[in-house]
Subunit: 304 residues, 2 copies
């Protein structure tokens, strides 16, 4: 079966829009999607590109893995700010090698996650391109003024991470076992993000590695950080735990007086250090300056 | 000057976010942008890809043209539904040939239009890719229940278009004169869209050519259409006026009793025909069946 018209593909996903109770008044099929906000909510928006040979390779990612990860990245950004998912938009550029079965698989991967997290697909765009390119916009909601930001960390706050780090980097390196699944199917920490709304002073998700992401959080908050080694994923090296990207765990800060449990809905939470006054963005590991060696698209490419 | 980090580019555009009175509580620099809806508004979302050698060629489009058009397409979708722009998100994937000057030009083209239309840049994503790829999300607002849709046309309604058609196709073919500018800098019909809110029964923008777009509107409204030749851009052929894409004029329907002026803020409005009962999606030009020959990404590529 050939991919023979936009309409055919759009018709397939059109049914996915669940209108009742989601606030979506109009989904796929018109020039725009329509969302009707509820009283007292603020809306959060994030957009993430996922591009063949930049963010994933066809050799390791199935069509479903690609669709899943495209949305998972956006949902993780919502989780980082304590938002509940509301809807998503999905733009897809399809190369000639991708047949309708493959394209359908990408949509299925996205729709599986969209349905399990209550984040209906409200619209998107579809085009041809040389490389498979996805861009997902995720919209979430939080009570007005309650979203978590990167900029609220204060000297004296404790620094926390969820889960164990380095699993995705390990999975990328070995391409097998549970770590491989960790790399392909990261779980957006939505429940934790919402739990932290009235607790954390700052939060973000770990997409580019702890060393770089913690430096970013500190820069936005105009503080420095002192940490010890984070909890490592079974088999991961310290370098993978410090610098490996795509764990999509949450990094957050909270006053020492705030009671953070060791487990939240089965997910470990570990205190790894303290926010300190100092040069904005500097991170110290066991007292020594830690360079930000996480993933930066432009730096990486300039260096390689 | 090399493109040496995401931060450098993000810092440049960070200042563009105008917070006051826009509803944007947080722009570029965190995991998500935050928008605080006003009472009684519904929000409209559209996302549009703009890809090198698919939607534009470097030989004809400058960096600024690319940024301008990426946003203009989204704003035109908002205009089509009668929305006022609220904010936009911009994802950009940059190939190795594009230096910081070029990337800066793309942002400048987008920001010029963003500022002139009151649609601040609230966030986005930036990555490397083989082909220059833009994805713009435009968010607009309308009073609740007042957005224009494709689906409301009724038999007996008049069919109208704004402006003169075929100018963009002419400019693409000749690459000179005013038509070239028409192709490169289409003007989203935002004021007209808002004017039509309480008048039109259905509306959409002409992005893929009148023949295809009118068929789509009729399909959504479950009606057919009888039209005469539309007003043509000076020098454009009838085929360019009927099938040429990217005019970004508005196509709308209104009851015959509704007074539509011949000019709205200097823009011509022309009645081109009538909505009729019939097989959904069929369009007749001067009594003969008109095939939809406008631009469909997948059909075009399958055929060529």
């Amino acid at each position: 079966m050939a991919v023979n018209s936009e309409r055919e593909i759009l018709d397939r996903v059109r049914g996915s829009m669940r209108g009742k109770g989601t606030g979506l008044a109009l989904g796929i099929g018109d020039d725009c999607a329509i969302y009707r906000p509820r009283p007292g909510e603020e809306l959060l928006f994030t957009t993430d590109l996922l591009i063949e040979d930049v963010h994933f390779r066809r050799a390791t990612h199935s069509a479903r893995d690609i669709g899943y990860k495209a949305l998972a990245r956006g949902l993780s950004d919502l989780a980082a700010m304590g938002a509940s998912p509301r809807f998503c938009l999905f733009s897809l550029a399809v190369p000639a090698w991708a047949d309708a079965r493959f394209v359908g698989g990408v949509y299925r991967g996205l729709l599986d996650l969209s349905e399990s997290t209550g984040c209906p697909l409200a619209g998107g765009d579809l085009a041809r391109a040389e490389a498979l390119t996805c861009d997902v916009v995720a919209c979430g909601s939080a009570p007005r003024g309650k979203s978590l930001r990167r900029s609220g960390a204060k000297p004296g706050d404790s620094i926390w991470v969820s889960g164990r780090l380095g699993g995705s980097a390990l999975g990328l390196a070995t391409n097998r076992g549970r770590a491989r699944r960790r790399h392909l199917h990261p779980e957006p920490r939505l429940a934790l993000g919402q739990f932290l709304r009235n607790k954390a002073t700052a939060a973000m998700d770990l997409s580019d590695g702890l060393s770089l992401d913690l430096a970013r959080l500190c820069l936005e908050s105009n503080v420095a950080a002192q940490i010890e080694a984070p909890p490592l994923y079974a088999g991961a090296t310290l370098a993978q735990g410090l610098h490996g990207g795509e764990d999509y765990e949450l990094l957050f800060t909270a006053p020492p007086s705030c009671r953070i449990p060791a487990l939240h809905e089965g997910l470990e939470l570990t205190r790894i250090g303290n926010v300190v006054a100092g040069r904005a963005g500097e991170v110290y590991l066991s007292g020594k300056r830690l360079d930000a060696a996480g993933y930066d698209h432009f730096k990486r490419h300039e260096q390689s």
